[in-house]
Every structure is written in C-alpha cells, then in structure tokens.
C-alpha cells in the first residue's frame, strides 16, 4: 500500500520532466496531438535553441556567475565563520549578531537600493552587477561558525605550537576539517545562483548579459507558442542541475538537514 502510494506520487513528481523531454524531441505540429511518445523523433528543436538563440551565452553567463559567487562564498563565509567561532577579540558577539540580523531583511527590500546603487555606479548590465549581491552570505557564515565551534581546541593549539600563522591555522587545520560543510554550502550556493531570477532580471538589460533563467523566461515570451523550443531550452537548463544532484545527492540531502535542524 505504502509502495503503491509512493509510486503514484513519484509519477506526479516525474511527469513534468518526462513531458518536457518528450515534447522537446517532437516536431512542432505534433506537440498538440497529446500522444505520449513522439511519432517522429527530431533534434531540430535543440539545434535551433543552441544555434539560433543566445542559449550558449546565457549558459556561460550563469556558469561564470554561479562559479565565481560560490568560490567567493566558500572562502569568505568560512573565514568569517572561523574567526567568529575560534578567535578571541573584542566586539565578537556584536559583529555576529549584526551579520545574523541581515538574514531577516527580504531580498525585495534590498533590490531597490541595489538597483539605485548600480545605476549610479555603472554596474547595470555588467558581470560585477550580477555578482556583487551574493559574494558573501550571512547564512553561510552562520553555518560555518556552527561547524568550527564543534572542533576541539587542541588541534588549533597544536598548529600554534608548530608556528603556523593565524591564517595558516585556518587554512591548513580548520578548512580540511569542515570539508562536508563546505561541500553542502558550495552546492547550495551554486544551485541558488544558477536558479536565481529576481536580481538578474533587474540588473540585466541586453540579451547577451542574460543568465539562463532570465534567458529562458524572456525567450519563452518572445518564442510565444513554440512550446517545443521552450521545452528543449528548459530541458537543457534542467540537465546540469539534475547531474549535479545525482553526483552530490548525499551532500545535498545533508545540507537540507543542516539548514533545517540546526538553522
């Protein structure tokens, strides 16, 4: 019984993906026929999406923005989390609360000043404009701090005795010990930025600067009823995410658990 219900549920969960892929390999007239399997299999839709739209460029933009943001987040969030967890200095608690309090501010509130700021400084429609809001995250700082706090002090003292610099202690002793947390944070940051829509929609103006979500959203608006093209573009956008998911499933699930139960 449980198995039957779960199978039914899986059907509902997987149906949109299946339908998307099946529609994407059908020639245009066939997509309105509602046959499950295509009568005639075609790669034409993919060819059009890849060759005649800005798809590859948008894909590259997303890859660039998500990768750079993730690297920055991993470095700065772990350094900040480490400092707040393991180093002694005046004002530590105040700084921590200050950073944490920013979690309550909704993005909608920030995008308006970010837009004004970007307009005044010429960041609109630039990679820097796309990047800057996400370079360091309060959530990641919090997560990393929690992890660094659980490590035994002896390890760090040993590093000090061996004559490592403060940065050396963080880099050579701290970081390797929190690798699982780094993996979870990295994957979530990457996916979050890969899927981001609101800010890129605001800061991007020309088709060349679109990220993938903005690209397919506006492309579908322009493509109108060319559902086979839209489905091909969507399939191509979903593919890397699902690949990342199947390779890093364990870390992703652990990440959700961390955010939910310790957050």
């Amino acid at each position: 019984m449980a198995l039957f219900l779960l199978l039914m549920g899986s059907g509902v969960m997987a149906l949109p993906f299946v339908w998307m892929v099946l529609t994407s390999v059908k020639p245009f007239p066939e997509i309105f026929e509602l046959r499950l399997l295509p009568r005639e299999l075609t790669w034409e839709n993919y060819r059009i999406v890849l060759e005649e739209t800005g798809f590859l460029r948008w894909f590259g933009n997303s890859l660039l923005v998500a990768t750079l943001t993730t690297l920055s987040v991993l470095f700065f969030d772990s350094l900040t989390g480490y400092t707040l967890a393991r180093m002694r200095f005046p004002g530590k608690q105040v700084i921590f609360v200050l950073i944490l309090s920013t979690l309550m501010v909704p993005t909608e509130m920030l995008v308006i000043p970010w837009y004004v700021m970007s307009a005044e400084r010429g960041w609109i429609n630039t990679y820097w404009g796309l990047l800057f809001p996400g370079l360091i995250t309060a959530f990641g700082v919090f997560l990393m701090r929690q992890f660094f706090e659980t490590l035994p002090q002896d390890l760090f003292d040993a590093g000090r005795i061996d004559g490592l610099s403060e940065f050396g202690i963080f880099w050579r002793i701290g970081l390797p010990l929190v690798r699982p947390a780094l993996a979870a944070l990295g994957i979530f940051t990457f996916l979050g930025n890969w899927n981001a829509f609101l800010w890129p929609l605001i800061v991007v103006q020309t088709p060349e600067m679109r990220t993938l979500p903005v690209g397919i959203a506006l492309f579908s608006g322009e493509a109108g009823t060319a559902w086979n093209l839209i489905m091909a573009a969507s399939s191509l956008a979903v593919l890397p995410v699902l690949l990342v998911f199947f390779f890093f499933q364990r870390q992703i699930i652990e990440g959700v658990v961390l955010t939910g139960l310790k957050g």
């Binding site: 837009y115 309060a138 979500p213 995410v241």
Partner: protein, 296 residues
C-alpha cells in the same frame, strides 16, 4: 607577553573580518536603511529632485486596492500552500519509512523538483495546464472530468500556482521530516508499545510532539517563502503577469511592478518596509515558540 599575544590575535581577527564586515555594512545593512529612507521620498532619477513626502506613501498603502489584493493573495497562498506541503511532506516521509526498499530512489525523485530552476518548472507546468492542449486536462478527461481553465481563470489561477509551488517544495519538506523522524529515539516507541499504545496513538503522543521544532521551522520557512513568491507567479502567467484580474498577484511581484515597470521606487520601498515588518514579526514569533518549547 600574554597581553601581546591576545592583542596579536585580535588584530588578525579584525584583518580577517575587514572585507566581510565592509560587505555586510555596504551591501546589506546600508541598503536596508536606504529602502526605509527611500520610502519617505518621491523617487526621481536626479537625486536633487527627490522630494521628501513624509508618510504619504504609507498613507497610500492603506487604500491601495492592488496592494490589498496582493496581501490577500499572499495570505491565501500561505494558508493553502503551507498546510498542503507540510501535510503531504509528513505523510510521504512516514510512507517512505514504511517501505522496505527504494527509499533513496524515491527520495531523489521527490527532491528533484526542489533544485530545478523555477523558471523551467513554471514553463513546463503552464504548458501542461494549458486549457486546450494541456496534458492535465487530457488526463482529467480520462476520469470523465470536463476541461478546466486553470491558470486562465480568476478563480482557479491562485490555487493552481499554489499547487505548482507545493509540488516544487515537497522534496525539501520530506527530507526535513525524514531527518526529524530519524532523530526520535526508538526506545520511546518501544516503551509506549509496552504501555499498550499502538498505531495512531504512537503518532499522536510521540511523533507529533517530538517533531514540533521541525514543524515550527517548516511553518516559518514556508510562510516566509510564500511571502516572497515571485518567479513561479511571473512565469506561469507570463503574458498576463499577476494572473487574470490580478488573481495571482503577490507582494513580491507587486513590488517588482511598482519599482521596475512603473519606476515608483519610493512607494515600492514603502511596500518592502511592510514586507520586512511582516517577516520580522513571523521570525520573532518563531523564536518565541521554539524557546518556550525548550523551557517546558
């Protein structure tokens, strides 16, 4: 010597924190205050012509029918979506624990939509929900149900959007609940069984109360998520953003429209302040409920 060591450590700490602190002050805290500041001004691209209007925008909030629509819709999304995703998530998590095999595979299938780009999800669903060529209506007709307008009807659009969002969030809920269930010690169930409890009683007196922190977290995170609903709403009704007769308009979408389509940045900022106030209230409420639980 000891003092100098601690001073050295403090200096290093500040050196590590310079960039992150500057970032948070400049890109998070300052903009939050700028939004507040903007909400008292009439927006103009030329800074010298931004006139102070005091509380005028806030007065306008009180009788803006579109804002009320957006608020009302947002409330509806939350009331429909949060219980639905929690109820389904918990049921599926319990089912998953009952099956002997394939747990990981099922979990992966349910989780996949959560990390899929919302834009792509929205487009696939709006294609499947299309009244004339949509797969969903085709499937309904197999059950003898007449075609439904879904996203194109003012009455059905909002519940339909909610359904898509619940579909997308379900995996997240399931994983959270699975972890929560995992953390309940087995001895509790064994002890209760010895005392004669069974079936639903076990759920009612052990699972449910011990799952409480996860539930509170899910309600709060879910609510905040629905308060910020944007991408799905925009893309499910792309040509008719906000849905037929604004039936799917959300606060976040209204803010976007005001600020970036009508360039009323001052008034839009006032709406964001309202949104911030609501989120602050919910977060504080969560803290209060959770700390009270711990004290008990």
């Amino acid at each position: 010597m000891r003092l100098r060591l601690s001073q050295r450590e403090a200096l290093w700490a500040f050196a590590f924190l310079v960039i992150p602190l500057a970032f948070f002050l400049y890109f998070r805290i300052l903009p939050a205050f700028q939004a507040l500041w903007l909400s008292f001004y009439q927006w103009h691209t030329d800074p010298s012509q931004r006139n102070f209007v005091g509380l005028e925008h806030y007065a306008r909030l009180l009788d803006d029918p579109l804002l009320q629509r957006a608020l009302w819709n947002t409330l509806l999304y939350t009331l429909l979506g949060v219980p639905a995703q929690i109820g389904l998530g918990l049921s599926l998590a319990l089912l998953l624990r009952a099956v002997p095999w394939g747990r990981e595979l099922f979990r992966a299938i349910y989780f996949a939509p959560y990390i899929t780009p919302a834009v792509a999800v929205a487009w696939v669903w709006s294609w499947m929900l299309s009244p004339h060529f949509g797969l969903v209506n085709e499937l309904l007709s197999l059950l003898g149900i007449p075609p439904q307008p879904f996203l194109q009807s003012p009455a059905q659009a909002l519940p339909t959007v909610t359904g898509v969002v619940v579909w997308q969030n379900l995996g997240f809920q399931i994983v959270l609940f699975l972890a929560g269930l995992e953390s309940i010690p087995r001895q509790y169930y064994e002890a209760a069984r010895i005392d004669g409890a069974e079936g639903f009683q076990l759920f009612r007196y052990i699972t449910w109360p011990l799952l409480n922190p996860v539930l509170v977290f899910s309600v709060v995170i879910g609510t905040i998520g629905y308060l910020q609903l944007f991408t799905q709403v925009v893309n499910l009704n792309f040509t008719d953003q906000g849905g037929p007769l604004n039936s799917t308009l959300t606060l976040a979408l209204y803010i976007y429209q005001l600020a970036f389509l009508r360039f009323q940045l001052g008034y839009a900022a006032a709406v964001t302040v309202l949104l911030f106030a609501i989120i602050l209230f919910i977060t504080l409420l969560q803290l209060k409920i959770l700390t009270r639980r711990v004290e008990l």
